[in-house]
């Protein structure tokens, strides 16, 4: 990876990952616990470098633990979406016919419902907890990979039809696993950056609306909390927001850098 953008993205993500890993070491206590006087200004108390919020909770601890939540949700959602999308796309592409038609209509249905509304409805039905939120966001994120994988399966099926047929006694699922998936993977991976970034943003929005997991710190809930004192202590909503921007930007930059690197290797190799 050579592009300066890609390197910048990598740096951002490494930094955020370091924050996420260091959070329980530096702030082993509950980041939601009240630790000081409410609304301590930043840089006034060395024990509370970023000050406290309206309830007296440590902003720095929240920021670090929030990075953990955001990255966790982003990665887990991508995993769920990729797994589900790959499964559906492969089945649709290999089965063809009525099965394919039916599955693709389901994909269409998931695509015309606003993903955020779907997540909202899902969370309201099952109650907010981190796994539920990951599933809820994954609900609208799997359609992209499903379409891509299906298209790839179809094109490969077309291309290597004869070769595949020659592989005597190979089960269709085996063909999919050995021949189709490795080829379909690069474009799907390119989608991953978008899924991770979207998931981070959607989780933040849900938390901002008070529909996130109430037992973990999230940047979205910190922004919502700070909003109550927007005029007097704007940093309380600005700082976690910058964390979100840095995360999403880092993911996009890294994704673009990786895609460029892959394209470059393909062109050269």
């Amino acid at each position: 990876m050579h592009s300066p953008e890609g390197v910048a993205g990598l740096c951002l993500i490494v930094l955020l990952a370091a924050m996420a890993f260091a959070a329980p070491l530096l702030y082993p206590g509950d980041p939601l616990a009240i630790v000081g006087r409410a609304l301590t200004a930043p840089f006034t108390d060395p024990a509370l470098p970023l000050g406290t919020d309206r309830l007296g909770r440590d902003v720095a601890a929240g920021l670090m633990h929030g990075a953990r939540t955001s990255l966790l949700v982003g990665l887990a959602t991508a995993l769920v979406a990729l797994a589900a999308g790959t499964l559906v796309g492969t089945v649709a592409g290999l089965a063809g016919g009525l099965m394919d038609e039916a599955l693709m209509r389901v994909v269409d249905a998931f695509q015309i419902v606003p993903g955020f509304l779907l997540a909202l409805a899902f969370v309201s039905v099952t109650g907010a907890s981190l796994p539920v939120i990951i599933l809820a966001i994954g609900l609208s994120a799997w359609t992209g990979p499903a379409r891509l994988v299906r298209a790839e399966v179809l094109s490969i099926r077309e291309r290597d039809y004869v070769a595949a047929a020659r592989v005597i006694g190979m089960h269709p699922a085996e063909v999919a696993l050995r021949e189709v998936l490795p080829n379909a993977l690069p474009p799907v991976l390119a989608l991953t950056a978008v899924i991770v970034a979207t998931a981070v943003l959607v989780e933040a929005a849900l938390s901002f609306l008070g529909l996130g997991d109430p037992n973990v710190v999230t940047w979205g809930s910190m922004i919502a909390e700070g909003r109550n004192v927007l005029r007097t202590a704007p940093h309380l909503s600005m700082v976690p927001g910058l964390g979100l921007v840095a995360t999403v930007l880092g993911v996009y930059l890294l994704g673009e850098g990786l895609a460029d690197a892959m394209a470059g290797r393909k062109a050269r190799g």
């Binding site: 953008e5 209509r105 389901v106 269409d108 249905a109 695509q111 015309i112 419902v113 606003p114 993903g115 955020f116 509304l117 779907l118 909202l120 409805a121 899902f122 969370v123 309201s124 039905v125 970034a197 943003l201 933040a204 929005a205 901002f208 609306l209 529909l211 922004i223 909003r227 927007l230 005029r231 704007p234 909503s237 600005m238 927001g241 979100l244 921007v245 999403v248 930007l249 996009y252 930059l253």
Partner: protein
């Protein structure tokens, strides 16, 4: 125009099964919620006796089997009856019809802003790939693309409403101002300026980036070389050859983003206290109002289908190749 009509008809027919899946899926999802509409209603009343409960359950049809209720629901939908909102104690359809225009204005303005400014800046960037302007706009748009809309809303409020006092912090119009006609339109526009920016800027960045990428691709096309061989003015090559072709995928994106933007309006309307469709969704969740939420999801799906129809028509008008396999005499 004939092509567009045939396409429209085909599109409508093909979206019927998809819509049916949405209806059934949403209905079943919200059926799975613990407690039903009557529980929610009683909660809002503060309790009630068993007789009332049974009577209510019967009047809502809740004592029937789920299949029966689904058929009843779909049957009612066909007569444009979206059910009864327990939180507002009003017909769901009335609520939606009342709230939808605000959101349509918000989304329409945000889309117009994002599309016009985004494609314009994209042309500026893509006119000279690799130039300083191009790189600046490219990095700036990527940064903007990473900004969550609700947080951007807060930043805009902080700067332009709290500090500079140029715009109001919330609401869709001045309450009880008695304004009419153009004055009222201006008042609404003044109120919508910040929310439209908060909602639209992400898409502005998206359109800018797509336009830029599309132009980079178009520059490599043979017809650009032949335009240069004709000695055409650079301006004409950039606009009529490069940008004109790069515009087409942007129009498609307009349809693809309709659903996402509708979702985005939920948070933005909450930030700016705009009584719109998105905020209604938030209120439905807070009020555990399953019928309302079901109605909102179904209507938003219809809305997305409608936007995509419009986009298809626009695309057919912009791309002469659509839908004609014919070869001239």
């Amino acid at each position: 125009m004939h092509r567009a009509l045939t396409m429209t008809r085909r599109r409508i027919v093909s979206s019927i099964p998809v819509l049916l899946i949405v209806i059934v899926g949403t209905f079943l999802l919200l059926e799975a919620a613990p407690g039903d509409a009557v529980d929610a209603y009683l909660l809002s009343l503060g309790g009630g006796d068993a007789g009332l409960v049974a009577e209510l359950r019967q009047s809502y049809g809740l004592d029937q089997s789920i299949v029966k209720r689904l058929t009843l629901y779909v049957g009612a939908l066909l007569q444009l009856d979206l059910g009864w909102s327990v939180a507002f104690d009003r017909p769901v359809l009335d609520l939606i019809v009342e709230r939808l225009p605000n959101t349509l204005w918000l989304m329409g303005a945000a889309t117009a802003l994002a599309f016009s400014l985004g494609s314009l800046l994209g042309i500026v960037a893509g006119a000279r790939p690799g130039s300083l302007t191009d790189r600046t706009l490219s990095i700036g748009s990527l940064a903007l693309y990473a900004v969550p809309s609700f947080w951007l809303g807060l930043v805009l409020v902080l700067v332009f409403a709290v500090d500079l006092r140029w715009f109001p912090t919330a609401g869709i119009e001045t309450i009880a101002s008695g304004k009419t006609g153009l004055a009222r339109v201006a008042d609404i526009a003044w109120h919508l300026a910040l929310p439209v920016s908060a909602l639209g800027f992400i898409y502005l960045a998206l359109f800018l980036r797509m336009m830029r990428a599309g132009m980079a691709e178009a520059w490599r096309q043979d017809f650009v070389l032949s335009a240069r061989a004709k000695g055409l003015a650079r301006r004409r090559i950039v606009l009529r050859y490069v940008a004109r072709n790069a515009l087409l995928p942007l129009v498609t994106m307009l349809g693809l983003q309709a659903a996402a933007m509708l979702g985005g309006s939920v948070v933005v309307e909450s930030v700016f206290a705009i009584p719109g469709f998105g905020r209604l969704a938030h209120e439905a969740v807070s009020g555990r109002d399953a019928p309302l939420l079901t109605g909102i999801i179904i209507v938003s799906a219809v809305l997305v289908i409608a936007v995509n129809l419009l986009v298809d028509i626009a695309y057919a008008l912009l791309d002469p190749r659509v839908g004609s396999g014919e070869v001239a005499p």
